[in-house]
Amino acid sequence: MTTKLFGEPVRRREDARLITGRGRYLDDIGPGALAAAFVRSPHAHARIADIDVDAALDVEGLVAIYTYEDLTGPMAEPLPVLIPHPQLHAPRTGYPLANGEVNHVGEPVVMVVAIDRYVAEDAAERILVGYEELPAVIGVDAASAATAAVHGDVPDNVAARHHQETGDVEPALAASPHTLSFTQYIERSAGMPMEGRGVHARWDADDGSLRVYTSTQASTSVRAAIAAKLELSLDEVEVVAPDVGGGFGVKIMHPWPEELLVPMAAIALGAEVKWAEDRREHFISSAHERQQKQEITVGFDDEGRLTALDAHIWHDNGAYTPYGIIVPIITATQLVGPYVIPVYRVVVESVYTNTVIVTPYRGAGRPQGCFAMERTMDRIADALGLDRAVVRERNLIQPDQFPYDHHLTFQDGRPVVYDSGDYPGLLEKLKALVGWDGVDALRDDAEARGKLLGVGMALYVEGTGPGPYEGGHVQVLGSGKVLVSTGLTTQGQGHETSFAQIVASELGVPIEDVEVTTGDTRRFPYAVGTFASRAAVMSGNAIALAARGVREKALRIAADVLEADPEDLEISDGVVQVRGTPGASIPLRTVAVLSNPLRYAFDEAAKQATQFAVQAKDDEPPVSPGDAPGLEHRDYYSPIRSTFASGAHAAIVEIDPATWEIDVVKYAVVHDCGNVVNPMIVEGQVHGGVAQGVGGALYERMAYDSDGQLQNASFMDFLMPYASEVPDVVIDHQQTPSPLNPLGIKGAGEAGVIPGSAALASAIEDAVGRRITSMPISPTELYDLVRDPSAERTAVAERRAGTGAMA
């Protein structure tokens, strides 16, 4: 049967090529292309005095060298501010190649094109750039101190002051039975996909068309940007995202300088040009995320119920703001989580630093918001001597409160109104899954083994599937093959499979007949992109609507042929059938043939549809008014607002009090993303997200020194987890369908990463009895913390010490 594919763990269709080495990633394309390499700034902040390319000119195999002086028209203007916002009062962007000033190590200054990458690097190495160094601003504290400015005309380094409030927070705090205030930090990490960025461009001089392959999460928008910057008509530019080796957000940022410069060179040189980013480049020129300083003041009653919350956050946006203030907005609005907060005020100051730009990395501001809220919950529990789960439970939005309006404005400009959920249900499942109530016994057991054991939890709500829209196109061919396309792109999420499942289910065809194409502007030119856990919600629903359109047309045509009422027809296994009347049927592929009246019979199937074969009615045109030839339909899904997924994580850690090594012995996840298209794929997303969450909490950080040099720009020192560092994960599911979309689904892509730092900070704090105010944390830092006499001891640790327990 074909119709029950929705919700089944269908094995992935893309795997056949990926496990045999037949994937087609960016650097697999254009084997004979010229290669680009870049001279990048070695300084965090400097004026460019001069550029001397003479020594490079002798390099055999050099083809071209470009500096800012070679850029013309819109290419000589600053890169776009992709997402403007009224509160982004001082937006600044760089140029495709630096124009007189560099603002972070890694900023591109010169592009070299040569016969291959080896030679391009030889030439780049010989180019001498004279710099006059300027003071570097590194980290949020230096940025807000503003003793030096990143951009001379923004002396306070503040790009934006994002502010939302749901009431008058100061009187509410003053009236609260208890308040507490604290400051905490979360550090930089990065998406760090296994495949870096890359661009390949081919100019066809004969027909004046440009085809660009780019490892992107937004091919339609890259296309528009290239057309605008290179002054081409949109119809002269095609952009294709081939197989993409991971994105995690860094590839939603666009147009990257290289996405404009490589096509520019291809046109200028009349040759294929390719740039495949290497790992060192990726570290110092592709976006990072996460660094924030958070000052929180919370009011609460004797039961631990929130009365007011005031959050003042400094967000490091790096050197430029091409992606606007999306990350700050998401932190500000997703911080509230699954809780009722009577009065909430948030101010996020988005500040410039002389570091790589900050744009969304999986979670996109949510991990920081979750860290703020969940650590607040832990503090309240500690202050009142209550169980951390109990305090959370008392503050949860209840199932009968949906739709729940937080009176905030989300990243899509729409209100933050939670559509559905069951947060107490999540918490109950989580407690059972991790064994929350039995932790004291585990603690004693660990103590007997000389280990410190702690448990922590964190809950989150994730706005997923924001608009404005996505589209889908479904076409049945005379061969019976069903072609499906959508404009958004794929970086490993298995869209070829889940979208095929949706179409097979909606249309009643075998999944083997369905072929899905994503991210190719030749096939579907209207799209927004793959980010914010939106692909399944947006394109999934658009494709479902398109499939329904095809179904309706197929039934109408088949009804004519079968002389039946469309209402009495069903499609199953690719055959349209009069319900309950065996034999009264017509294959869908034949319906497809008949849908397109033909003059020319180019094959056997077409013969059936020629003007002499079809019993046309003489008084009607072959194609009815308002109808169109072909069995196809295009449709769009545009949501009224985002849908809100949710989840809860808990971690148990064991710490060796001799070496302060941290071992995550159990990691539990309860996950709710509404209806699930393919549970195998969703579970894979959760596992991958948790690994990144654990990595971000315990291993990964972008370590800049005070001069703005990235100290760990290699996989040797940027500690992405191997299998040995990722804990076993146990998962439980809950499904509260979204009432907002036809399929009832919510996004699942980012969820796994969101609560990692919050849950692990809580667990480590529980184990060592010292307040954790900064994440990530490593053994050497934990050692510093536990022997720092000024480090705050938690109240629960004091109480345990009083009863003789180890702390």
Partner: protein
């Protein structure tokens, strides 16, 4: 001097059972030679400093990082890449290696970029052991622990190793 000191060399090697020849600058990394000179783009390059393992191939049967070898160093050697894991079924098609089947069955890949390195490493590990012996966690760690994957969180990859080992035991 009797020894030849070169900037370019012609190398002959066997790749996936097929004799191949290429003339390469001596600085050409094996990873680049496989991908760009021999057109075998299934081997991927993730870091070019030997940490990620995406470029792992088998040289004379042993997993090595192809980004940490010069192409000239494998002159005369036998190289096996992800393209050489499946075998011909004699009817124009291919029979997947058990580890390839297991990766699909266990959802052990997402973006697929790191996958070839895992596949060849695990294939070598499983082929090099007594198939009837119980697979230990330590063996799995050896086969999986030296490669980075940013998508899966590894649980499904470890599951795939067990799955493939079971298949290889059953067909024995």
């Amino acid at each position: 001097m009797t020894v030849s000191v070169d900037t370019e060399r012609t190398i002959r090697l066997t790749v996936n059972g097929v004799p191949r020849e290429a003339t390469v600058p001596v600085r050409r990394l094996l990873s680049d030679a496989l991908r760009h000179d021999l057109g075998l783009t299934g081997t991927h390059v993730g870091c070019e400093h030997g940490v990620c393992g995406a470029c792992t191939v088998l040289v004379d049967g042993a997993p090595v990082r192809s980004c940490l070898l010069l192409a000239v160093q494998v002159d005369g050697a036998e190289v096996r890449t992800v393209e050489g894991l499946a075998r011909d079924d004699g009817r124009g098609g291919q029979v997947l290696h058990p580890v390839q089947e297991a990766f699909r069955e266990c959802h052990a890949l997402q973006c697929g970029f790191c996958t070839p390195g895992f596949l060849v490493t695990i294939a070598a590990g499983l082929e090099g052991r007594e198939a009837s012996a119980e697979l230990t966690d330590e063996e799995i760690d050896e086969m999986v622990g030296g490669n980075l994957c940013r998508c899966t969180g590894y649980a499904s990859i470890e599951k795939a190793v067990r799955h493939a080992a079971a298949t290889m035991r059953d067909v024995q």
